[in-house]
């Protein structure tokens, strides 16, 4: 079986991914793309770096997608997360689902990206134009622990 969750070191191409969830019985398709945006908490972002623990991501990602397909009666579902250095506007993650009706497609797509962001071991390091940088959600709790 083709993997439904994967990690990619190269740019994500939405159109090619979309073709993998086409299904003649599906009436609705919803996709989410996460883009690197130029600001975070009022500061100007220069670039991001994503790092993934790939073996665990793929295993857990497949399980999440299988669960979503069952829970929301999907026809097809696919998700890919980028790693490496990404500039402003680049696509960091793509999640696409197709289902008979649109309601389930919206719910499933949002559920999947929430779970992917929350559960999977993928880290994000921000570098700002002022030269400062840090791992999101790591530096602050580290400071508290110190």
């Amino acid at each position: 079986m083709m993997p439904r969750f994967s990690i990619s070191e190269t740019p994500l191409l939405g159109d090619a991914l979309r073709r993998q969830v086409l299904d003649p019985s599906a009436g609705g398709f919803v996709c989410f793309e996460g883009w690197v945006r130029d600001h975070h908490e009022g500061r100007t972002v220069e670039f991001l770096e994503y790092e993934a623990y790939e073996a665990l991501c793929c295993r857990s990602g497949e399980a999440l997608i299988a669960r979503a397909m069952e829970k929301f009666s999907l026809r097809q579902a696919l998700a890919v997360h980028r790693t490496g250095r990404l500039g402003i506007g680049e696509m960091a993650v793509w999640v696409g689902v197709s289902s008979d009706h649109r309601r389930e497609a919206f719910q499933a797509c949002e559920w999947l990206i929430d779970r992917i962001k929350h559960d999977l071991p993928i880290w994000k390091k921000e570098t700002f134009v002022d030269g400062s940088s840090g791992w999101v959600n790591c530096e602050r709790c580290a400071a508290h622990a110190a």
């Binding site: 994503y50 790092e51 993934a52 623990y53 073996a55 665990l56 295993r59 857990s60 962001k117 929350h118 999977l120 071991p121 993928i122 880290w123 994000k124 390091k125 791992w135 999101v136 959600n137 790591c138 530096e139 709790c141 580290a142 400071a143 622990a145 110190a146």
Partner: protein
């Protein structure tokens, strides 16, 4: 026993390497993190981490076995 540990993100930077082989007396994942935190001077407390053993999420009091591959998982990007 001998174990391997893979380091990611902030822990990789603080450990100064991506992977290491360790000879340890630790019985549990929790004890192993305590030893590694002292060795590498990690800023993150165990309470903010998760742990995986052999590419599966594990519990902190799970017992380690020789040859296990352990990964300590710092807080992820989230939002």
């Amino acid at each position: 026993m001998n174990l391997s540990i893979a380091w990611f993100s902030i822990l990789r930077e603080q450990a100064g390497c991506s992977e290491e082989s360790v000879e340890t007396s630790a019985i549990t994942a929790s004890e192993l993190y305590g030893q590694m935190r002292a060795k590498h001077r990690f800023t993150l407390a165990q309470g903010s981490l998760r742990v995986a053993i052999n590419d599966e999420f594990a519990q902190w009091d799970d017992r380690l076995a020789p040859g296990d591959r352990v990964v300590f998982i710092a807080p992820v990007g989230g939002g």
